[in-house]
């Protein structure tokens, strides 16, 4: 009985680590590799697990481990949250320590608790930086200084809006419709305002700044990367996610542009 409990604890720790990594945008092969190594490294009453099979898709982890002809299978459901590189880095370090066998199970469990809430940048810095990300991006595609300021304000406000929505537990489609709507509405209003003052600004270039912070370019690229490395199911799931985020954004942007094109 003791043995059973210990086996379950090891498997739980491994799948939780995998979940944290997957939730925050790690690649499929890395999660599979990490979870497998974590389980295989552990010695329980001087014996190791015989075979460990891990199957990872963006929305779940299935792990099946054999120990003395007894198979334990665990399913961990995962809800993707976005990209958080600090989390991936910490989980990676944690798994390395765990596989080296320095940690006891109690230590590992308490370390895992800390993993799930890593330090974040303060809200002000985050908002200012998102403005920077979206704003300077404009220059790379031939924007002017006026357009930079507009894109800066619009990007910062869009991220403020998306952060506000994060605690509301909306589904990702609705959230992205609102994001696209906010980004393009801000763009249209700001461009109209500057025209009214007497400056010229291109609406398309201004909107691309805030949208760049929402557009699923990274998940599209990561999905294709998974496909190339042979993770066919995970890759196509990620590409589908990217496609639907793009459709949601198009919904939001389209709503605003349809009206604004008529009004202007």
């Amino acid at each position: 009985m003791e043995l059973q409990i210990e086996i379950k604890r090891v498997i739980r720790i491994a799948t939780r680590t995998g979940r944290i990594m997957l939730q925050n945008g790690a690649e499929t092969y890395r999660v599979e590799d990490t979870v497998k190594r974590m389980v295989e490294s552990r010695v329980i009453s001087s014996k190791k697990f015989e075979t460990v099979n891990v199957f990872v898709i963006p929305t779940g982890i299935i792990l099946s481990a054999d120990y003395e002809n007894e198979t334990t299978t665990v399913l961990e459901r995962v809800y993707p949250e976005g990209i958080d590189l600090e989390c991936i880095d910490r989980a990676n370090e944690f798994s390395r320590k765990f596989t080296n066998g320095i940690m006891s199970l109690e230590q590992a469990e308490s370390a895992l608790e800390e993993l799930s809430n890593p330090p974040k940048f303060s809200k002000v810095i985050r908002i200012l930086a998102s403005g920077m990300g979206g704003g300077f991006f404009i220059f790379l595609f031939g924007g002017t200084l006026t357009e930079f300021f507009l894109a800066y304000i619009a990007s910062a406000a869009t991220i403020l809006c998306m952060d506000g929505l994060a605690s509301k537990h909306l589904n990702f489609f609705i959230k992205n419709i609102i994001g696209g709507f906010a980004a393009s509405l801000l763009g249209v209003i700001l461009v109209q305002f500057t025209r009214w003052i007497g400056f010229e600004a291109n609406l398309n270039i201004v909107i691309i700044g805030p949208l760049m912070t929402l557009v699923p370019g990274v998940s599209l690229t990561n999905g294709i990367r998974d496909l190339i490395s042979g993770e066919l199911l995970a890759g196509s799931a990620k590409i589908m996610e990217a496609l639907f985020i793009a459709i949601a954004l198009a919904f939001g942007v389209g709503m605003v542009l349809q009206f604004s094109l008529k009004l202007i």
Binding site: L85, E86, F121, L140, M212, G217, T221, I224, L249, G254
Partner: protein, 147 residues
């Protein structure tokens, strides 16, 4: 002159996105440098090549290689450096224009830009996978030399 300003803009843009992706503070500078070199190469190839795949491919190979080197030096996973690094040429621009053309009912242009952004994404992914595999092949040899 153009290259200096482009370098500064891409660097600052990647810094912004790094904060958005909650990159560990100590690594932001390194990741932004890799993004900057990737973008400079992208820009250089874009200026004389009419092909839209080659610049993204070369840029992402550079980002992937720098990411692998940084990963070995700083002892962090390589993804941490490559995800912010590819941001400047990730086809967000193309995805936006695809959406815009669909909204304007211009399906021919939508298909063109959509296919273009898909192929850019494929070439970026290929570039990074190529860099990673290359490093994986030569790494044992380098370690043998250093020993």
């Amino acid at each position: 002159m153009v290259y200096i300003s482009q370098a500064i803009y891409s660097f600052l843009s990647v810094v912004g996105f790094s904060v958005l992706f909650n990159l560990p503070r100590k690594l932001i500078f390194a990741a932004s440098i890799s993004g900057m070199f990737g973008w400079l190469l992208y820009y250089f190839f874009q200026s004389f090549s009419t092909n839209f795949i080659v610049p993204a491919f070369v840029g992402s190979i550079v980002v992937g290689l720098i990411g692998e080197v940084l990963a070995a030096v700083k002892k962090h996973p390589a993804t941490i450096f490559t995800i912010p690094g590819i941001i400047p040429f990730v086809p967000g621009y193309g995805i936006y224009y695809t959406m815009l053309h669909i909204v304007e009912k211009d399906f021919d242009l939508a298909l063109t830009t959509g296919a273009e952004s898909l192929f850019i994404a494929i070439s970026i992914a290929c570039g990074i996978v190529l860099a990673t595999s290359f490093v994986r092949i030569i790494k044992p040899n380098i370690e043998k030399l250093l020993r």
